[in-house]
Amino acid sequence: MSRASGTASSEKATTSRDVPQLRPRDLLSKDDCLEIFKQVYLARYFDVRLIKEKRRGRLKGTLYSSHNQEAILVGALFGLESNDWISPIHRDMPAFFLKDIKGDWRRPDRFGMSINEVCAQVWGKADSPGRARDNWSHIGSRSKHIIHSTSMLAGTIPVAAGLMYADRLNGGNAVCVTFNGEGSTAQGIFHEAINYAAVHKLSVVTVVENNQWAYGTPMELGCPTSDVADRAKGYGIPGFIADGQDVFDVYDKVMMAVEHARKGNGPSIVECKTFRAYGHGDHDDDRANKYRPQEEIVKGRQRDPIGVCRRTLMALGYLGDDAAELYHAEGKNATEATNEDFPPEVVDFLNEGIEFALQSPLPAAEEAGRWVFKEDN
């Protein structure tokens, strides 16, 4: 492994030092690891491509880039059961199709959105799962176990908690992984929901993508402790810290949290340390280069999750020097990277989705008057 594991900040979750124990990642097969690598590429490509589409004028609206944070999405989602639930936020667009993607990416019956659905949403078309009624990442699907967020940050955590309460009552044993920025942990609802989840030992795993900035506000102006994971201590629940650049470390920590929940021990927080590569949204790219010190940006982007993953796979012998040298997206921004820097199946997959989206019609204006209330049909 290229880097020591992060440490769990809660004692409850720390395993004994003496007995060498298997980490969740140690149970992953070579195929799994290579699939993970490809998914990191896929997440990156989605971001790069959307930026290009927007620059080409084929796409409108604000883009909240997940560049440099892909290891969190892939690592947190890879180990989930198909029917587990998730709740992504603005920066997590790839999460919608990365959920339960393992194996065949085009499997129609999987619990997760198809690339077509996600692209239809991005382009605001009628084939979006929400028929383009709300924007960007505010989609979801009850049948595919994805909670629909509003814009109000941290607002899905109580929803996740109630869902897990009901799921247990229904005899289920699902876990719900919610994603949040570090800034969002200051919201009152974060406290109310995690407190409630802790009281009832509900299977809610709160992944905090600590990318150091909440829009134009540095972490220390929103959070009094240097680790967001410390918030867990207030509820007596585990607070794990993961290296957010290392997909395998994220995988380990999230799986420990999931395991903890699955056993009936309740919620936990998994802080993933990372860095927001671009501006808050693409409208903020230029300003973000001013309000954030240049050194900080350089340092924050140094450890590209693609590279960290590649080096791990090489060390494991899963990737030979040749294979590792095939694609060169690593360290490149959206201007620098081209399709050739990505595995062709990744490019093809997204191409299909974009084609679909471009051909999908706009919803009819009159639909705007529908579904304020339930319709019997």
Binding site: P129, G130, R131, R133, D134, H138, G140, S141, R142, S143, I147, H148, T150, S151, M152, G155, I157, P158, V159, A160, A161, G162, L163, M164, Y165, A166, D167, L169, N170, G188, I189, E192, A193, N195, Y196, V199, E367, R370, W371, V372, F373, K374, E375, N377
Partner: protein, 337 residues
């Protein structure tokens, strides 16, 4: 059910019992129903609305929640996603302000933003209304906030019969409903009535004509309906024959019943105890003015709470609220218009 209904003896029931019966019956009929709120289980609710419910249906379906209104609503939304029907209590409707975002932005819009994929069978209910010396934070009628937030049905019964029938309808409606219970009516003897033994619902969006009359129409809901009825009695002595309409549900609103009445009386007074500006009384006047303008022979009148908070001590409280006297005076002026 035995805890609340006794089929061999026919007794009049009060408003709080009517609501309690509705909850007991729906919990029995619908195993996917959950009730949650502060102190509703072990205690049985601050007003006893859920008394005995936890003993009957267990702590997993009747949940004592932390003092977290936003989470009470938000978790109800999550339960609805998992196929549950949820009754979420606000200990006083005033505290709904603490769960406001989850109501108007998360719950109210869920059906809309999913193009109908997700329905929200959640009833947020709580004790509301003034006249009891509850002061600023135990007297509110804040229904207008929710009428201005698309996606919510808004209900306010004035009788035990309606309270039970509307609660059952709300719990089966599949849409998020806000249910304003008038706490001053909970145990008021004068409004007790016989309730049917059999299951019944009252369709949402249907007003009730509480008194028919030909000279002037009073439109109201909640406890102000009784002020209107008393005023009508006093006016009858003075030769003025007032019709009293209890709208019962605000969203959706039964416009027809109102318009039909005004077609007859040509005069309108709307009475409610919410603050005037942007309250539901103004909404009724706006609808009538827009759609039944020709029927009106006199300026319509609002009798509402003044645009003040509800102060504590009696003389101050009464000063800002609608009263029988205020209604009678306004009616006399209006019929002479």
């Amino acid at each position: 059910m035995s805890a609340v209904a006794n089929p061999t003896q026919i007794v009049k029931k009060n408003y709080v019992t009517a609501i309690r019966e509705a909850l007991f019956e729906e919990m029995a009929l619908n195993p996917d129903m959950i009730c949650q709120g502060e102190d509703i289980g072990i205690l049985g609710g601050a007003f006893g609305v859920t008394e005995g419910l936890q003993a009957e249906y267990g702590a997993s379906r009747v949940i004592d929640m932390p003092i977290s209104e936003a989470c009470i609503v938000g978790s109800a939304v999550g339960m609805a996603l998992a196929g549950k029907t949820v009754m979420a209590e606000m200990q006083f409707i005033d505290f709904i302000s603490c769960g406001f975002d989850q109501i108007v932005n998360m719950m109210a819009t869920y059906c809309y933003r999913t193009a109908g994929e997700v329905n929200m069978p959640v009833v947020v209910r709580g004790p509301a209304g003034a006249y009891g010396g509850g002061a600023l934070y135990h007297s509110q009628m804040n229904e207008a906030w929710f009428c201005n937030s698309p996606g919510l049905k808004v209900i306010c019964p004035s009788t035990p019969y309606d309270a039970k029938g509307l609660m059952k309808a709300a719990l089966r409606d599949g849409n998020p409903c806000l249910f304003f219970e008038i706490k001053e009516l909970y145990r008021k003897r004068e409004v007790e009535e016989l309730l049917p033994e059999e299951d019944y619902v009252i369709q949402l969006g249907k007003a009730a004509v509480r008194r028919s009359g030909k000279d002037i129409t009073f439109v109201s809901y909640g406890q102000n309906v009784y002020h209107c009825l008393q005023a009508a009695d006093e006016l009858a002595k003075l030769g003025v024959d007032a019709e009293v309409i209890d709208i019962r549900t605000l969203v959706p609103l039964d416009e027809d019943t109102i318009f039909t009445s005004i077609a007859k009386t040509s005069r309108l007074i709307v009475v409610n105890e919410a603050p005037m500006t942007c309250g539901f009384a103004g909404e009724i006047i706006a609808r009538v003015s827009e759609k039944a303008f020709e029927y009106l022979d006199a300026a319509p009148v609002r009798i509402t709470r003044l645009d003040t908070p509800v102060p504590w001590v009696k003389p101050l409280e009464l000063y800002v609220l609608p009263s029988v006297e205020k209604i009678v005076a306004a009616a006399l002026k209006t019929v002479k218009y």
